[in-house]
């Protein structure tokens, strides 16, 4: 996985997902890799869950909230599963 990543701007369609809406489509930097974890999008429906690699990704307030950011250099770190991430330079 690239160092700079973008969270996929997928819809959730009322399904159980653990990728917050406010991070979708936003670009951040991988803070650390946490290793494989069972996919909660399967566990929520009592299904066998494949492992997904989980990353901690760091976003600046400027990236998340633009000019209305309270302090542009403050950050939010969140855990995002690999299938919700793509390289920041992907088309």
């Amino acid at each position: 996985m690239a160092e700079r990543v973008r969270v996929r701007a997928w819809g959730s369609h009322g399904l159980h997902v653990r990728t917050p809406h406010y991070l979708r489509g936003r670009t951040g930097v991988i803070e650390r890799c946490l290793g494989p974890f069972p996919n909660p999008e399967k566990l929520a429906y009592r299904l066998p869950a494949e492992a997904q690699t989980l990353y901690r990704v760091r976003f600046t307030m400027a990236e998340l909230w633009g000019p209305s950011a309270e302090n542009p250099d403050d950050t939010v770190d969140a855990e995002i599963y690999a299938h919700w991430l793509e390289p920041a330079d992907a088309p």
């Binding site: 997928w10 819809g11 959730s12 369609h13 917050p20 809406h21 406010y22 929520a44 429906y45 009592r46």
Partner: protein, 112 residues
């Protein structure tokens, strides 16, 4: 890109009210039932959250935390086939017939 009601990050909201309370026995029991039934593999916290989310914002605004949890634990146990809706209905009728407060409706009088 749709946003579910429970996905609150960044929403405008009022001041944080620094509320807290000591948990009642029945709330601790709900917590314990969740911990034990998930530890025994009947469902996972993800399935608890899925039901809590599907219960919608009205439940979030009108029910307390453990009121929502016992509803979600119960639904998962039904989904897991642990007991039937008929068994549940009969048990609830039995519980309510014992008394009008928690202590007397609970066999053994709550924690005595």
């Amino acid at each position: 890109m749709d946003k579910s009601w429970h996905d609150m990050g960044g929403d405008p909201a009022g001041p944080v009210i620094p509320a807290e309370h000591d948990f009642a026995l029945w709330e601790k029991r709900v917590d314990a039932l969740f911990m034990l039934t998930t530890a025994k593999g009947l469902f996972t916290v993800d399935a608890l959250r899925r039901v809590l989310e599907d219960m919608g914002p009205e439940a979030f605004e009108t029910m307390t935390y453990y009121e929502r949890w016992i509803t979600a634990v119960n639904r998962n146990l039904i989904e897991a086939g642990v007991y039937s809706t008929a068994e549940l209905a009969a048990k609830i009728a039995e519980v309510k017939a014992r008394g009008a407060d928690y202590g007397t409706a609970s066999l053994g009088g709550g924690d005595g």
